[in-house]
Amino acid sequence: MDFTALSETIIKGNMDGAVKETQKALDAGSDPQQILDQGLIAAMDVVGEKFSQGTMFVPQMLRSAKTMQACVALLKPQFQAGTVSSKGKIIMGTVKGDLHDIGKNLVAMMLEGAGFTIVDLGVDVAPEAFVKAVADEAPQILGMSALLSTTMPSMKATIEALKQAGHRDKVKIMIGGAPVTSQFAKEIGADRYAPDAGSAVSEAKGVLAAG
């Protein structure tokens, strides 16, 4: 089955059209996992790439993600419990002392759109809370966001806390946020740096591909 038409509606953020296309695919007997992977996630991959290239903008990305969510809601009852395949689990949060959530939410949304399971710890997340979540959830990736140069040191503190708790080697760490640079990521011993929501997706895929 060809999912081009479905993908197009997602990329355009045409909610009614996307829901219709999803229903059409289901009625035609397509496998829900295939609809998800080849229709929805494939479309969000395009959205992420275009966003990184600067040919799509935040409102368009939001619209595409909302459109995808409506389609996923339609697919969900078709999956038997536990049969949806997740690309991996990512814990996310804005670091201690920092209340900015817009960037973190955009990244979480795009990662979810790419098929990852997201555990969002919210804003002002203390190092201990990140450590506990890594211990409890056993994610492949921990994503930290900071919008203030004054809260960037909390990223380092979190990495140190993970080391002390003996969990550092169990998870890959990805960081981002307006004042964060790849050089800072190296300095504090983070594994990946993502300058925007689109690159967060490709970095996360890179982590899992590297195994």
Partner: protein
């Protein structure tokens, strides 16, 4: 309208390099260009240098004030860096910023209350960022109350309503504009201030959005803006809006700016 020139900020690569090398001439050139273009305050920010900020911020103050006869906007939430910077500052600086976040408030209150200065009161609450105009006004009101109880004059407080991007939620435009109007109406004498660039995050043609936002904000009562005064199109828009709001007798400033060639050639 008070213009705070925003360019000396180490989150900009050229500035970080100049500050890292302590290249006074480069910093002074940026300071002069902004003052010549009409900035009344020059913002200085060395936040990306983290621990070195308390050495570099005072260095920036001395370096800029050697070149420009203007007060500075000391852009840091770090009490130590601010104290060092205020100790060498000539005149009354504008401290950017205090907020309702408890740790920040407690750390900064003695700094701003015990030294002669003006202060930006950022509408950021303890637990979350405000979304609606009413939430912003409530945080602003609480800050004004606390700061005046601590002895600050209303005229020395500039409330920053916290600009958030319209790309994420189109209601953010009206919310911040209504907050500016609400603060101005409820607290005569208190100033309002904001940066422009957050409004356009995530969108193309950001300078276009920023300068129209400035015009709208002015019409709603904004008294100060943190922006790039060397942006000719921005400053042209500002002159035109200011005139249309009846604040430019005989349109003299507008015509003067035109005759000085300050407007972009397509204006």
């Amino acid at each position: 309208m008070i213009i705070v020139g925003e360019k000396i900020n180490t989150s900009r690569k050229a500035i970080a390099e100049a500050v890292g090398k302590k290249d006074a001439a480069a910093i002074q050139a940026v300071a002069r260009a902004q003052a010549d273009a009409g900035a009344q305050y020059i913002d200085v920010n060395a936040g990306t240098f983290l621990e070195q900020e308390k050495v570099l911020l005072p260095w920036l103050v001395e370096t800029v004030q050697e070149a420009v006869d203007a007060p500075l906007c000391l852009d840091s939430p770090a009490p130590e860096a601010l104290k060092e910077a205020m100790a060498v500052h000539k005149g009354r600086p504008l401290i950017n910023s205090i907020s309702l976040e408890k740790d920040r408030y407690d750390a900064l209150l003695p700094v701003v209350a015990e030294n002669p200065c003006k202060v930006v009161a950022l509408c950021m609450a303890q637990a979350a960022m405000p979304t609606t105009a009413d939430e912003r006004i409530a945080v602003g009101a609480e800050l004004i109350e606390k700061l005046t109880s601590a002895g600050m004059a209303l005229e020395d407080i500039f409330v920053d309503p916290l600009v958030q991007p319209v790309s994420v939620d189109v209601r953010m435009g009206p919310a911040v504009l209504a907050a500016i109007a609400g603060i101005a109406e409820r607290f005569p004498g208190v100033g309002t201030i904001c940066g422009l660039s957050n409004i356009s995050f995530g969108l193309p043609a950001r300078r276009l959005i920023n300068r129209h936002f400035l015009g709208l904000a002015l019409a709603h009562g904004l008294s100060a803006a943190i922006c790039d005064p060397t942006d000719a199109e921005l400053m042209s828009a500002l002159a035109a809006v200011n005139m249309m709001l009846g604040r430019d007798e005989y349109c003299a400033e507008f015509i003067d700016a035109y005759e000085k060639g300050l407007f972009s050639k397509h204006a």
